[in-house]
Symmetry: C2
Subunit: 424 residues, 2 copies
């Protein structure tokens, strides 16, 4: 091998300059949920306990029915499956929707590689590069990622923490609709807000979508996570959504199967479904073993979900009461999912979350949260907000709240002089 010399280096440098990334690649943001992971890893390596409130990774055991189905699959060859999903799984999923009052047939459901792919396919099928999607904000951070990946522009509609992030009135949607608008995206129950939209709010939304010939993509992966007797309404349960609604769903949260990567793409629009199947064919198959496991998981008894709801209600109650007791903290009402977007007395949520991982320690432990900025496509928003995923057991969640309470008193960029910090 000839060693590098000056001429070679120059050539390589020129090459490098001339090899640009795509616009999509430049626009694709780092995940706000994961970008601080190196700081968390460093803390853990130094022996610090990190409470993960940054990511919606439940600690609840996956249903034994999933594990049994995986163990009993007894495959010799792990083969491709049908691109639209194993037929038995599609049938069983459709039956499960019907049992839950969502009237869909088997050919209106295909299996995707998690909710992420379901959303990605939806955007690809209906949007061209440069098209616009209207999304209430704060929004699930990865919507920004998928929009970037498909060259689509996110048009946010602000919602207010003081209103518990309620769905804005239809007049706010109407103001933002242009000839490039293709769809509205909602997440209900909401990530990162914990808000559940009422049937009346949803009907108003569908009405404005139909009036302007827009699609509605409804991310409903948190359907089972609803508290205080509130029952979320699916977009597919509303009249007038046969042609323009696409429901994005997943087993990740419901069955604590985030790592299975199995989701659902559901629509009654046959043309959209045909196109979605062609996108699914291009990537051949979703993970076969995980699909077999999910066929089992669909037999999970109702008691699993009842226990889940009870447990998350307790966690929610603890979180809300602890947060509201902290000076300068605003915590909205939360009825669904397992997130809270809360306002903190801090200068910059990215700095604060990084500081928590790098510098703050309480009983040799700290908390990882997701900076609020990543959940806004509007620059400058979310600076004093964090998203908290209350996915830990009550004891750990309590300890995490202890950390946060003390951290807010000692963080150098705090905007409220707490009694403890006043003397510094």
């Amino acid at each position: 091998m000839v060693g590098p010399n000056k001429l070679e280096s120059t050539v390589i440098f020129q090459l490098h300059m001339a090899l640009p990334l795509s616009r999509r690649a430049k626009a694709m943001p780092a995940s706000p949920i994961r970008k601080l992971a190196p700081y968390a890893d460093a803390a853990k390596k130094s022996g610090v306990k990190v409470y993960h409130l940054n990511i919606g990774q439940p600690d609840v055991p996956s249903p034994i029915q999933f594990w049994d189905a995986v163990k009993n699959s007894n495959l010799q060859v792990l083969e491709y499956s049908n691109s639209a999903g194993i037929a038995e799984l599609r049938e069983k999923a459709a039956a499960d929707y019907r049992k839950n009052g969502i009237d869909v047939s088997t050919d209106e459901v295909i299996i995707t590689t998690a909710g992420s792919e379901s959303l990605s396919i939806a955007l690809n099928v209906i949007c061209n590069e440069g098209d616009e999607v209207i999304v209430p904000e704060p929004l699930y951070a990865n919507y920004i990622g998928f929009a970037a990946g498909t060259g689509i522009n996110v048009v946010p509609i602000p919602t207010r923490i003081e209103d518990n992030f309620a769905l804005p009135p239809s007049s706010e949607f109407a103001k933002r609709i242009t000839e490039r608008t293709k769809t509205i995206i909602i997440c209900n129950p909401g990530n990162p807000t914990g808000t559940i939209y009422s049937k009346q709010q949803l009907e108003e939304l569908i009405s404005i979508a139909n009036e302007h010939n827009l699609y509605v993509i409804a991310d409903e992966v948190y359907r089972e996570f609803a508290y205080d007797g509130v029952r979320p309404v699916s977009v597919l349960q509303l009249a007038g959504t046969e042609q323009n609604a696409i429901m994005v769903d997943s087993v990740s949260k419901r069955y604590s199967l985030c790592g299975a990567r199995i989701g659902f793409f559901v629509t009654k629009n046959k043309e959209i479904m045909d196109a979605a199947v062609r996108f699914a064919q291009a990537r051949l198959s979703s993970p076969t073993l995980d699909m077999l496991g999910v066929i089992g998981a669909l037999d999970t008894p109702q008691s699993y979900f009842d226990d889940l709801r009870l447990e998350y209600t307790r966690r929610r109650d603890l979180l809300v009461s602890r947060l509201r007791a902290m000076p300068g903290v605003t915590c909205p009402d939360i009825h669904g999912a397992f997130y809270a977007t809360v306002r903190l007395p801090i200068d910059d949520s990215d700095r604060f979350c990084q500081w928590m991982l790098e510098e703050f320690r309480h009983n040799n432990s700290t908390v990882m949260m997701a900076p609020g900025t990543g959940f806004y496509s509007t620059k400058g928003c979310g600076l004093d907000e964090v998203r908290i995923a209350y996915v830990l057991n009550l004891e750990d969640l309590g300890k995490a709240m202890d950390c946060l309470e003390i951290a807010l008193q000692t963080y150098p960029g705090r905007t409220l002089n707490s009694p403890v910090a006043a003397g510094n």
Copy 2:
């Protein structure tokens, strides 16, 4: 509920008309490997044995090391993994590449949801909508799908069955390079051709790519499938590819794990890798259980691959000798992968393949093949070609060849009057 009336129908019809699909969705083709599946299913339902030579689904058992690792994972919660893949798997995969003479470090390898996603990320990271990719033709059908999905134009370079589909000279590439050209894509060993490119041919290709500041995406998922003592050269083993080469890889074929959906995205270009990781973050995680299984599969002993090579050499030999004995059939030399693109004395490969499934029966069995047309982006090419995947054991492959031989004598659209058919 109010029943539908004429006015409502009209409104729905108008809505439907005004809700267009994206350009991507319109351009996305049905998979030529899978589009005939409904005819195969119908044949099977009526009790007919269908020999599947249409899809690269090996019948070889997946390594026991994979199944053991899955069984021994003993997880309670199936969690998300790191977006770039489980750290242990990245380390082990990089070490495996180095063992095979491909010098990469752990941070130059990320885990993807199969080779499909690896290719999709590569195209997304380097191409804008409307950009061009140059691909020798016939080409792996799903390249057309991924290009459609990302709004990219495939610029094919014809290769000839008479030359065993050898890589065209660099002058042919040069002719097709425009200011929109971003990358060359090669598949080596080749799907659907079975061709293995020589080191000299590859060096010539790299030279033209470097001269024109193009990326090279090399799909090397068939690396272990090389016969007659030929050893494929990886693009990452060639000088001058540090900045512009992306290697797409997968466990699907090597370990007979098509259903695991685990692949690799490998590049030494740090900027490309950073962007790829952001795309990976947007979809959160590859399947965790499958990754754990693949950590085990990477311990598969060399004897597994030696046996594999021996078995596929026998299948290849049988296939080639049987095909070459059929009047009017052209079968090229095949040194790698497990496909043959062969010329048949037929009028239209789509019609022929469908006829085989719908009408032809021999001993109550028939053969499913992939029509050649799907492996060309040039309209009108591949009409008299089929892709055959020789993924069946010798006995079944022999029976499939019996079927094909007789079918070619009786197919109504045959272009050669065989002795048997002459009297009809």
